[in-house]
């Protein structure tokens, strides 16, 4: 099979959560904002396939809407990282060794020096806990990652003969960057995007676990785990299901990323025989 089994297992796992998140826009088994105390902490049944939490909310519905929160936060954060990082990386590579290049790279080093989680906590603490601020906090740390990958990929292309030919033909640096460099580093960006996506899911879960992500009543996997922690002695299953959801989604994305790298990078394919 082209791309190997891990690509397809990964894509399948990811698809399960993406579909669940999409379906949750039009249909969920039960309303997740309505509290039904009489129905609290029910075990799994036909009505509540995965049981209910301490407010009587249906766990399956919570997980479905939680998938939406996680995916939205991580995806937009990747968008921010690519939106700012790719142009910066292209700019740095097109002006290799210049002041701009130096500024971009030192700026990258600086952001890398900050412990990302600490800064994310700081940002959400300064501007108030919300999904939007979680996105910003995660997104900022995606910028240097994409800038670095883009610059690295672009630099190796700039040395090639056909880029030289384009320059001889009179194309400017901006045009060459957009018409020739960018399309040829898309592979790298897609693979890195998948990895940052999965890291974003983990970061969102950690932030909402400490109460700095999406705020109630919006369900999120991290918050579900935080709520479950106080009931770990009496209702351990509440602490297990959201964790499995996070692991499933992250594992799916990681496998997909590895599979895509093997598929898109001929050197790896050859090395693996």
């Amino acid at each position: 099979m082209k791309g190997g089994p891990q690509l397809w297992i990964g894509a399948g796992l990811t698809a399960v959560f993406v579909v669940a998140a999409l379906v949750s826009f039009v249909w969920v088994p039960h309303d997740v904002t309505a509290l039904a105390i009489a129905e609290k902490l029910k075990p799994a049944s036909a009505t509540y396939p995965l049981g209910t939490d301490h407010f009587g909310r249906d766990i399956l519905s919570m997980l479905m809407v939680g998938a939406r929160t996680s995916i939205a936060v991580a995806l937009v954060a990747v968008g921010i990282g690519m939106g700012a990082g790719v142009p910066l990386g292209l700019l740095a590579a097109a002006n290799r060794g210049s002041l701009i290049d130096e500024l971009v790279m030192r700026g990258n080093d600086l952001i890398f020096a900050f412990p990302s989680l600490v800064i994310a906590i700081l940002i959400t603490a300064v501007f108030g806990p919300s999904a939007l601020n979680a996105i910003l906090a995660i997104g900022i740390f995606n910028v240097p990652v994409f800038a670095r990958v883009t610059r690295g990929g672009a630099l190796s292309l700039w040395t090639l003969d056909w880029i030289l030919a384009a320059r001889v033909a009179g194309k400017g640096r901006v045009r060459i960057s957009l018409e020739h460099i960018l399309p040829n580093i898309l592979n790298l960006l897609i693979v890195q995007g998948t990895i940052q996506f999965s890291l974003g899911i983990l970061a969102e879960a950690a932030l909402s676990y400490v109460g700095l992500g999406a705020q109630p009543p919006t369900p999120s996997w991290g918050r579900m785990l935080a709520d479950a922690q106080t009931m770990i002695y009496t209702n351990p299953s509440l602490a297990i299901l959201p964790g499995l959801a996070i692991v499933g989604m992250v594992l799916g994305l990681n496998l997909m990323g590895d599979g895509l790298r093997d598929l898109l990078d001929p050197r790896v394919r050859r090395a693996r025989g």
Partner: protein, 315 residues
């Protein structure tokens, strides 16, 4: 080597200056006045103004930045608004939880990763290798705070081998303290061990394909001897880098894990300080963590250049 070290030290100092300006600027934006927070809801405006004056909050931002940065250089981190004790003292107390926790986790992660990576590389392509690689994929995907909850569930709730949280302090001997840090350290170590094992495996596989390994085998060394004596040593370079980088991850990751286990470390302190608007503590803690990360990166760079002379040219 000296020139290399000096130029790296210069860029280290520069990063610290820029980082401190950024942190100070971010903290400046925080809404809420620490003086009125400290005095409570019934404070008179005069009392708030007097306290603001006493805390030095009325000075111009540049003057306050210089006072803060200058103080840190001499070991004076200021006085906590809420605890009313020097921040340095507060940090030192908490460091006795967070630092041992991070080191413990680092040791566990290395102890787990080395044999696992070695076995996977030695039996490349076998069922064992696939099993190990699958397990490490899983290890990377597991959020450490959730793994911490699972550990509590198994070892504290069901088996009752460990307590679910809290810290007895070092005064009662190292035994109980180390025991209290074991589950948190394990939770922190698992994802890092998975990453480390994967790095070691691929580094080993690469070195095992080198000519000098074939030479070593040709002169009569067994596969095992060649792996341990020659390949492992050379594969350690990327592994050491990752270990260096992981230390800062562990220190920062401890912030979340300390919350799961109710450990009185730097992580808990930073959360309390944020909710209590104890800005001077937040500022100094973040700066300290950034300093730790930058310093470790610097040391890893130096160690790297010490091992491999080729890297010294790339300044």
């Amino acid at each position: 080597m000296l020139r290399f070290a000096l130029s790296r030290a210069l860029s280290l100092a520069l990063s610290l200056v820029v980082a401190s300006v950024v942190i100070f600027a971010v903290i400046e934006v925080i809404p809420g006045d620490p003086a009125s927070y400290m005095l409570g809801m019934n404070a008179t405006p005069e009392a708030v103004a007097a306290l603001r004056d006493q805390l030095g909050l009325n000075a111009a931002p540049v003057a306050r930045y210089l006072a803060w940065a200058g103080g840190m250089l001499t070991g004076d981190f200021g006085t906590s608004y809420t605890y009313k004790v020097p921040v340095a003292e507060l940090v030192m107390q908490r460091l006795w939880v967070s630092l041992p926790l991070a080191l413990y986790a680092l040791a566990l992660s290395t102890l787990i990763a080395l044999p696992v990576g070695l076995i996977a590389a030695a039996r490349r392509g076998s069922a064992t290798d696939y099993g190990i690689m699958g397990a490490t994929q899983l290890g990377i995907a597991v959020p450490n705070f959730w793994f911490a909850m699972l550990l509590v569930l198994v070892f504290a709730v069901n088996l009752r081998w460990f307590s679910a949280g809290g810290f007895p302090g070092w005064a009662g001997g190292a035994g109980p303290a180390v025991k209290a840090l074991t589950l948190p350290a394990l939770a922190l170590a698992l994802p890092q061990a998975s990453i480390l094992a994967r790095v070691l495996r691929s580094a080993l596989i690469e070195t095992l394909g080198q000519d000098y390994i074939r030479t070593a085998r040709a002169k009569g060394l067994t596969r095992r001897q060649a792996t341990v004596r020659h390949a492992l040593r050379n594969a350690m370079i990327p592994v050491l880098t990752i270990i260096g980088l992981q230390f800062s991850f562990l220190l920062a990751g401890a912030i979340i894990i300390e919350n799961v286990f109710y450990l009185p470390g730097l992580g808990r302190l930073i959360f309390q300080a944020i909710t209590q608007r104890d800005l001077i503590v937040v500022e100094s803690l973040v700066m300290l963590l950034v300093f730790a990360v930058i310093l470790v990166t610097f040391l890893v760079d130096l160690a790297y250049a010490g091992v491999d002379p080729r890297l010294r040219k790339r300044v």
